[in-house]
């Protein structure tokens, strides 16, 4: 069956460090993969999309990699700030299938 797995544990990091989140999938052949941010009591907000033929994509302090051989995407937040504290969701395919998300807390 199709499965999307993200870091099972919440991530607690010190301000200024890099947060790295993992998204692994099975039984999908996605044309693209997306990352969303969700704050408590709010809907997800789109951050980045990376296509199957792209290895890496950047947006400000965010970097996403996509390895279709490993069936994995890595999401990096560099120079993290307390305002980056949220749950980050990866999503595949169309229509979107979401992972359960990883909660990131950045300590000042």
């Amino acid at each position: 069956s199709q499965k999307i797995e993200q870091n099972s544990e919440a991530l607690n990091i010190q301000e200024g460090k890099t947060a790295t989140l993992t998204c692994n999938y099975t039984n999908y052949s996605p044309a693209y993969l997306q990352w969303y941010r969700q704050d408590p009591g709010r809907g997800p907000v789109f951050l980045l999309l990376i296509r199957e033929n792209e290895k890496e994509k950047r947006k400000e302090r965010l970097k996403v990699t996509f390895d279709t051989t490993l069936k994995q995407s890595l999401f990096h937040i560099t120079a993290s700030q307390p305002a980056d504290s949220a749950t980050y969701l990866c999503a595949l395919d169309y229509p979107l299938s979401f992972g359960a998300g990883t909660t990131v807390t950045v300590r000042a």
């Binding site: 809907g43 907000v45 789109f46 999309l49 999503a91 169309y94 299938s97």
Partner: protein, 117 residues
């Protein structure tokens, strides 16, 4: 630009009661989605509309859930009768067009938190 609007924000009902949620997408967005997000999980697509037609309702429990999008703008999602396991946040999202050549970002509303007692 106004975002996706949803109401109510919170609803508490007894099991076997009925409930309805309303969504107003971003103006001009042809595609509208309803998702169910259970605590600790990612959103799960229930139904997708393009204009006022259903594109995908394969994960909608049709024995108790129904949705409509009259005139291709606002949409309502109804649950009748509700079960305890329907307790979740119901999210509405919209996009310009479904992905064909290039991807169109989905914009989510704040959601309706439903508690079934």
């Amino acid at each position: 630009e106004a975002g996706v609007a949803q109401s109510p924000r919170y609803k508490i009902i007894e099991k076997r009661q009925s409930v309805a949620f309303w969504c107003n997408p971003i103006s001009g967005h042809a595609t509208l989605y309803w998702y169910q997000q259970i605590l600790g999980q990612g959103p799960k697509l229930l139904i997708q509309f393009q204009n006022n037609g259903v594109v995908d309702d394969s994960q909608l429990p049709k024995d108790r859930f129904s949705a409509e999008r009259l005139k291709g703008v606002d949409s309502t999602l109804k649950i009748q009768p509700a079960k305890l396991e329907d307790s979740a946040v119901y999210l509405c999202a919209s996009s310009l067009e479904p992905p064909g050549g290039d991807y169109n970002e989905q914009f989510f509303g704040p959601g309706t938190r439903l508690t079934v007692l």
